[in-house]
Amino acid sequence: MAANPMTQFEVYRIGPEIKVGAFDISFTNASLFMVISSLAILIIFNLGSKKNSILPNKIQLLAELSYSFVSKMISDTAGSKAKPYFSFIFSLFMFVLFCNMFGMIPYTFTVTSHIIVTFILAAFIFIGVTVIGFIKHGFGYLKLFVPSGVPIVLLPLIVVIEIISYLSRPISLSVRLFANMMAGHTMMKVFGGFVVSLGIVGGWLPLSFSVALTGLEILVAFLQAYVFAILTCIYLNDALNLHH
């Protein structure tokens, strides 16, 4: 079982099978880590916001630094109009970050390495941003597909390209996160398998690789959460401040 690098992504039921109508909503290991991540976020930020001292302690500093980090990210990319969506982007960033980071602990499950999870998040963002765009600008939002300063001859082509690129946003957003997480974890598993199979004689090289990969994967875990959040901000910026 440990030999197959893909078994780590297997979802299995924890506890009894729960069915609502035709849908199976049993509690799985994926659900477990979603719950753990959410609870970890809530506990950390609750502790970080409980006491307000002028000189913050470590956990308060962590919470406040994260707050200002996300706040700055949003105001830099989407401007001041994006303030009402701060809570959502903050939750999104933290959720993805914590799921990624919990996945880095050995024998855990990486929630974000499943395309269905990332796709649901991305699809929700896509639909939400589109709805916001139409509410703010009405049908004027369709001007997004018509960039200014393009020769008339090229316009039909550009519009088609813009529409395709817009529609592929949820796919690119979800596949980017999912593929990064899956590839990284698979690689680590493969190198870990080499360590076992090559033994004490030849196992040092894949072991050192594995150590280096762990560092890289922690970086990727943070980076992908950041990219996910910042792309959300950029899409939101398109919907809020129509520049075309």
Binding site: I25, M34, S38, F88, S91, S197
Partner: protein
């Protein structure tokens, strides 16, 4: 011995790696739709819960904390600025006082000096005058003494000559003839004797 062990382990390695690659045929569990609905359900549930608690309870608190700290720091900075200004003003005042008192001290010193100098000068003048007077008086005295000196000397010479002649000759000599001779001598050689 070690070489043999190494070879054995290498062979064993190949055995195991074969096993690894053989097992790699399960496909991606991510594409198995068995638990998709469950994952969506739990994602919506956990993320929704997370979002609601964060946005309603926790984030406003953090934001308020940050705002409070910002305003407090601003206040402190303002207070510090005020105090700095007041201390600067006081420093200026202090410097002004020092400058004033320095000038005052200088003036006092100058006045005192002038007074003393004036005093000294006036006293000196008085003393000079007195000395001058004394000198003049002494000079006049000397002058009178000097002017009366030849006559006295003449008289002494005449008396002495008469006495000497009396003893030499033993007879009275006429005073007037001797004084005529002395006068004559004085007229001839007076300059030599009195050194005018």
């Amino acid at each position: 011995m070690y070489k043999k062990l190494f070879l054995y382990s290498l062979i064993a390695n190949f055995f195991f790696t074969n096993k690894i690659f053989a097992a790699e045929s399960g496909g991606m569990p991510q594409l198995d739709p068995e638990f998709w609905i469950s994952q969506i359900f739990w994602l919506v549930l956990t993320f929704g819960f997370l979002y609601i608690v964060l946005s309603k309870l926790i984030l406003p608190k953090i934001s308020a904390n940050l705002e409070l700290r910002k305003s407090q720091i601003q206040e402190n900075i303002e207070a510090a600025e005020k105090q700095r200004e007041s201390s600067e003003a006081k420093l200026k005042e202090f410097n002004g006082i020092i400058l004033k008192s320095k000038i005052e001290a200088k003036n006092i010193f100058k006045d005192a000096r002038e007074k003393v100098i004036k005093n000294i000068n006036s006293k000196k003048e008085i003393l000079d005058k007195q000395i001058d007077d004394e000198i003049k008086k002494a000079e006049i005295e000397i002058d009178t003494l000097r002017q009366s000196a030849p006559e006295k000397i003449n008289k002494i010479a005449v008396v002495t000559s008469t006495e000497i002649l009396k003893k030499l000759i033993g007879a009275e000599v006429n005073n007037s003839s001797i004084s005529a001779i002395v006068d004559d001598l004085v007229k001839k050689n007076g300059d030599k004797y009195y050194g005018h």
